[in-house]
Amino acid sequence: MPLFGVEQVPERQVADHPEGEAERGPDDAERRGAFLGFVAHEVRNPLSTALWSAELLGRITAEERGGARGEKLVAMCLRSIARVRQLVEDHLLCERLDAGEFPLRVEPVSAREAVGDAIERRPPDVGEIALDIVPDLLLGVDRALLVRALDALVAMAGRDGTAVRIAAEGAGDTVRLAVSGKAPEEGALEDPVKGTPSDPRGRALALPLARRIAATLGGALTAADGRYLLTLPLAKGGAALPRDVAHP
């Protein structure tokens, strides 16, 4: 494999993780059923408000549609659809990762650039983001998945306008990314089940997704000291890109 080359990982040759279909036993089936029940519950709420707001917009007069009620219903409809879209996207990726059906493209990825990409995706309710990233730090991961995991963690740490800090440093043959802000709740990294409070932004699957991505990339997601800690492999062959590549 070239020093900084791209490694195509065949389907199903993803990291071992407990959600994998092949390893499922009765307990896993029960856990999976509970998880799918939660997903269905989360989708039905915004689906309801999308349908109702659209139907109400069709019922009211043109004058009402142009007024405050119309604006409120349009905003609710769009918000609800965006929420469904986020849930569906996160769920589909969870399912692909669980099934080992995500074709990984492992390559050296600049921590700074991946964090930058994730920050660009951040929702408007996330507060200020401070960075403390060791320069030229390279991970050996799938870039798209890393960005999705970071995006999920930023969304969770930045809830309710909380300021977020992202730190990254090398630790042996791994890279440790710490995302701090709104602290993880107890048991937050477990798969949610029916009865878990809803997330009105549609990010109810953010942590299950980030956890699956970490496992798929050969790392782990943990919570400690009020922070999310994403530990992932360092790029093989070195920790630094040439300066002109790292900072074009």
Partner: protein
């Protein structure tokens, strides 16, 4: 004669807003609560004629709220209509509810259920 007062209990702010909008447009009076504990306070303060109740909520869920309500002599007969995304109509029976609507339900189904519940209702003591 005042219109019936409907207390809507749901932790999802958009669900609350949408259902209250639907009921308000049909001339019902509405009150809202984000969880079971808030709903008990609203029952004391507003004396609703019917309660639309979500089941899965933080702080105090719908089942716990319904049980607490049924233990209060002055409120044990307030009709409850379950509105839930859990897809389990048997939950309605477990809390002695008057009906169950699975989200996403039709607006007309909601209005029909609420009208049926309110139609024979006599004014509540203390209302």
């Amino acid at each position: 004669m005042t219109s019936p007062l409907v207390l809507v209990v749901d932790d999802d702010p958009d669900i609350l807003e949408a259902i209250c909008d639907i009921l308000d447009s049909e001339s019902y009076r509405v009150a809202r609560a984000r969880n079971g504990a808030e709903a008990l306070e609203r029952v004391d303060a507003e004396r609703p004629d019917v309660i639309l109740l979500d089941l899965m909520m933080p702080v105090m869920d719908g089942v716990a709220f319904a049980k607490a309500l049924r233990e209060r002599p002055a409120d044990r007969d307030v009709p409850i209509l379950i509105i839930s995304a859990d897809g389990n109509p048997q939950r309605a029976a477990s809390v002695n509810a008057r009906g169950y609507l699975a989200k996403p339900f039709d607006i007309e189904a909601l209005l029909s259920h609420v009208a049926d519940i309110c139609r024979p209702a006599e004014p509540r003591a203390g209302a």
